[in-house]
């Protein structure tokens, strides 16, 4: 799994490539913590090239969402989620807990 973070004026874009499973989810958690620990709570997760997300990955995202939404200071939004992964979010009942965007520009522009 690879992670690249780009800082924009109004938000941060985190691009993830590869599998997010129990082996790699802590790495994603660390990358997101770097942002939230720095007081940056408006985050776009670019999932275009994510091939797989297990419950360990979902756990990282829900924990980050809880942190970001505290005091209405921001949120984690998800962009370009592949169909199978979207279905996993649906199965877990996560769809109402995140905003989903079809493209990065719209996701970044939502902040």
């Amino acid at each position: 799994m690879e992670i690249n973070t780009t800082q924009y004026k109004h938000c941060d874009l985190v691009k993830v490539v590869g599998r997010v499973d129990s082996a790699t989810a802590p790495q994603l958690g660390d990358a997101l913590h770097v942002l939230t620990d720095d007081g940056r709570f408006k985050i776009v997760l670019d999932m275009t090239d994510v091939t797989y997300v297990s419950s360990a990955g979902l756990r990282v995202m829900i924990d980050t969402q809880k942190t970001c939404r505290q005091l209405s200071r921001g949120e984690l939004v998800l962009a370009c989620v592949p169909q199978r992964i979207y279905e996993t979010f649906d199965l877990a009942g996560f769809l109402p807990l995140f905003k989903f965007f079809d493209n990065i520009t719209a996701a970044v522009g939502s902040f």
Partner: protein
């Protein structure tokens, strides 16, 4: 097809590789194959975390039985007995603040596979105590 792997998270991708190969032999479609990958990933994660209480404390043996109309996967470990009935199902409708993700892996396994059987065999002479999880994904329901 049987292979044994040290119970470490870094080996998940290798185990998934084996079951993906078996899914191709059966001819499962992409959606069913993804379901099998998730179920096996979650099952192996549960073995490492709950049966072995951490990485490197034993092995996971994975057997794949490709059939004409279904794929059967058997996972065995020699960790602590696992009782699936002791794991509460997650509330998938709770609001964000009340959302807990414990039990989500087992929930995925039950939802995504057609048949799921957990068995525990206590140690018997030279035979170590063994958890056996048998999961089946049928081809005809994979649309």
């Amino acid at each position: 097809m049987t292979a044994s792997y040290p119970a470490r998270f870094e080996n998940l991708a290798r185990i998934i590789g084996l079951v993906t190969q078996a899914a191709e032999i059966v001819g499962l479609n992409e959606k069913a194959t993804y379901a099998v990958q998730i179920a096996v990933d979650e099952a192996c994660t549960n073995i490492i975390e709950h049966a072995y209480h951490g990485e490197g404390n034993g092995n996971i043996e994975c057997t794949c039985i490709p059939d004409q109309d279904k794929l059967t996967i058997i996972l065995r470990d020699q960790g602590q007995a696992f009782d699936p009935n002791g794991i509460p199902l997650p509330d998938t409708t709770a609001c964000l603040e009340d959302r807990h993700t414990g039990g989500l892996g087992l929930y995925f396994i039950k939802k995504l596979m057609d048949k799921v059987v957990f068995e525990f065999c206590p140690s018997n002479g030279s035979q170590k105590a063994t958890n056996t999880l048998t999961m089946t994904k049928r081809k005809e329901t994979s649309a």
